[in-house]
């Protein structure tokens, strides 16, 4: 792995140069009111590398909230064609936990059956990560991630003073940096490591993630699910903001002319009441507590069993977004720890 240094101003100017390349779309973190979002950069001045958290993770660029899978002429089954919208994409300033989420999404969409709608978009992306520089009170990412971000990031930025130290993790990342005003990194390893760990999490999951699958099995009937479940509005805010929630619904839409139609997929969420309902009306997860439990079991047990990595990356967005203030995994696990059965 190469490691280089570039002044923050030079890096921003370099991004400005990249913005002139009309073949690649550059996404970055930009300010939106008092919040931050991932959005297309039109000027390098919009780019914000120093932020707490974005409202939504960058997942939306690989699994858009609403995406056309197929097109067809209504009632003509021989007219189905698969479609995709993808383009070279660079995303700048992704925190390591959101990268860890992309690592999981990659596994989910490529293991067993390969989902080209996702994979094509991912394959044409370049990810520039950054170690967080600002505190966010709900974040507990350090306790639930294990360096997966290094397997998906092409470059990682480390903020030190007026400079950025750049870890070059892939050939693609190296190529991207060509022409940038980089110089040899003269910071010591300790300075770099300290900068990476500049922001400590206030919170941590009280159970080591390696033990969580068995811990949840033991606590399947714990009162926590009823206790928090009865406060849940089934609004789905927690799954909407989650970087590792990729469940979707599929539906057909027909144009008013009745000549063209499309099959779209839209984000869906297991907290929503209809999620497990079948055609004759039977709902296989009809209670709020059952749905509340399923989300935590999926993140803490089912996804780890299926994909070998923890299903929550500790971004804390769900805890922040939850109307009832009950969705945060730390709060849920602490309750179980405090009320051992």
């Amino acid at each position: 792995m190469d490691i280089v240094k570039i002044s923050k101003d030079d890096f921003i100017a370099f991004i400005g140069k990249k913005l002139k390349d009309k073949n690649t779309k550059t996404i970055g973190v930009v300010r939106k009111g008092s919040h931050y979002v991932f959005d297309q950069l039109h000027s390098e001045k919009e780019l914000c590398l120093d932020y707490d958290v974005t409202l939504l993770p960058p997942k939306k660029y690989f699994q858009p909230p609403r995406e056309t899978l197929l097109k067809f002429a209504p009632f003509k089954a021989d007219s189905y064609v698969a479609v995709n919208v993808c383009e070279p994409l660079t995303i700048v300033g992704v925190h390591y936990y959101d990268l860890a989420a992309i690592y999981l999404m990659d596994k989910a969409f490529s293991q067993d059956e390969r989902d080209d709608h996702y994979i094509q978009k991912r394959k044409n992306s370049l990810l520039i990560g950054i170690y967080p520089t600002r505190h966010y009170k709900y974040r507990f990412a350090r306790s639930v991630t294990r360096g997966q971000y290094r397997k998906v990031a092409d470059l990682m930025l480390i903020h030190i003073g007026d400079n950025l130290v750049v870890e070059v993790l892939t050939e693609k990342g190296k190529k991207y940096l060509e022409g940038a005003n980089t110089e040899e990194n003269d910071y010591s390893m300790k300075e770099v490591e300290d900068a990476k760990n500049l922001v400590r999490d206030d919170q941590k999951l009280p159970v080591p993630i390696e033990l969580v699958p068995e811990y949840l099995t033991q606590n399947h009937s714990h009162g926590v699910w009823e206790h928090f479940g009865e406060k849940c509005f089934s609004c789905g805010s927690c799954v909407l903001v989650c970087p590792t929630c990729y469940c979707f619904d599929v539906m057909d839409e027909v144009e008013l002319s009745l000549e063209q139609g499309k099959r779209i997929r839209v984000w869906d969420g297991c907290l929503l009441e209809e999620f497990a309902r079948v055609a004759d009306g039977h709902n296989f997860r009809r209670t709020r507590s059952g749905r509340f439990r399923h989300r935590i079991f999926r993140k803490g047990k089912h996804l780890p069993l299926k994909y070998g990595c923890f299903g929550c990356v500790g971004c804390g967005r769900c805890a922040d977004a939850c109307t009832s203030g009950i969705a945060g995994p730390v709060k849920i696990f602490k309750y179980m720890e405090d009320h051992k059965s």
Binding site: A82, E87, D116, D252, R263, F275, V278
Partner: protein, 290 residues
């Protein structure tokens, strides 16, 4: 510049060569009404045989209406046709019911696990089916009857709500007559209807088999509505059936069929991939299974 592999990458909508969501075309060859809400359909794929195993399902599509998972009710075969019995319960199934001979649909599949017909060779088979549970079970029943010598005793139990809900009535009559199998039928209720047979829920048929069925050389294949399983399994346990001699087929909302969309997940199992057919022994510890 970055890699431009496979796709055009123009930022505009382009045709994508492959997609796990892209259906193939099948044509409706035959349609017969079975009950007020259930009809029989025979489809033919354009270029190949479906290549399914008993108990698997496929996703059926009507462009503009949507897609739904439907059990395949015919046994495996080399021909390009396959059969389904579809209950009109929603928009997709409603649109399928409106199809005429010669109309086409989209098909993806087959998906999921199947009844282990090879592994059951040399065993006794006890089919316990309720309502449209007979539809997936029929693929295994017909397979067993086509390979009758491979299996020892075959008992078939079928129950439905009332006589008007009976499916495959001609075949039921044939099964009734066959000397090489035992067929028992019941209806849950019959208020003033013309029905000479047994009345009562499906478990009321089980006592007829006591002391006849040897649970240790018999495998029970149970398919029915969610409410049926617990009672039937209790009944089978009373008959001392080992849990690994009970095979079930479970229903879930199998939206994508390929283990992605999350709708059919129960505990850590994706019913569309890991099921719908399970040994009861393998799922009895799952809290969300039944």
């Amino acid at each position: 510049m970055q890699e431009k592999e496979d796709c055009q990458c123009t930022g505009k909508e382009e045709i994508q060569e492959s997609s796990i969501y892209l259906p193939e075309v099948a044509t409706l060859l035959r349609k017969e009404k079975m009950t007020q809400f259930d009809s029989f359909f025979e489809f033919e794929l354009k270029d190949r045989s479906l290549g399914h195993l008993p108990g698997q399902f496929a996703e059926i599509s009507i462009p503009g209406i949507g897609e739904a998972p439907i059990s395949i009710s015919s046994p495996p075969s080399d021909v390009k046709t396959f059969e389904m019995v579809i209950r009109k319960v929603g928009s997709v199934t409603g649109a399928v019911h409106a199809l005429e001979k010669g109309d086409s649909v989209g098909i993806r599949g087959p998906f999921g696990t199947s009844f282990p017909m090879d592994g059951l060779k040399g065993k006794n088979l006890l089919f316990i089916t309720g309502g449209i549970g007979l539809v997936p079970a029929r693929s295994a029943i017909k397979y067993a009857l086509e390979h009758r010598k491979d299996y020892k005793n075959i008992w078939i139990l079928f129950g439905c709500k009332d006589p008007d809900q009976r499916l495959f009535t001609k075949e039921l009559a044939e099964w009734e007559k066959r000397a090489d199998i035992d067929f028992y039928e019941t209806v849950d209720r019959c208020d003033g209807c013309d029905w000479q047979g047994h009345v009562g829920v499906i478990t009321t048929l089980l006592p007829k088999l006591e002391h006849i069925v040897d649970p240790f050389s018999t495998y029970a294949i149970v398919v029915g509505p969610p409410v049926m399983y617990k009672y039937v399994i209790l009944g089978l346990r009373d008959m001392e059936f080992p849990d690994d001699h009970i095979i079930v087929s479970l229903e879930r909302r199998m939206k994508c069929g390929v283990g992605k969309c999350g709708h059919c997940q129960m505990d850590n199992i994706y019913v569309c991939q890991d099921g719908p057919v399970f040994y009861y022994n393998d799922i009895k510890h799952l809290k969300e299974a039944i």
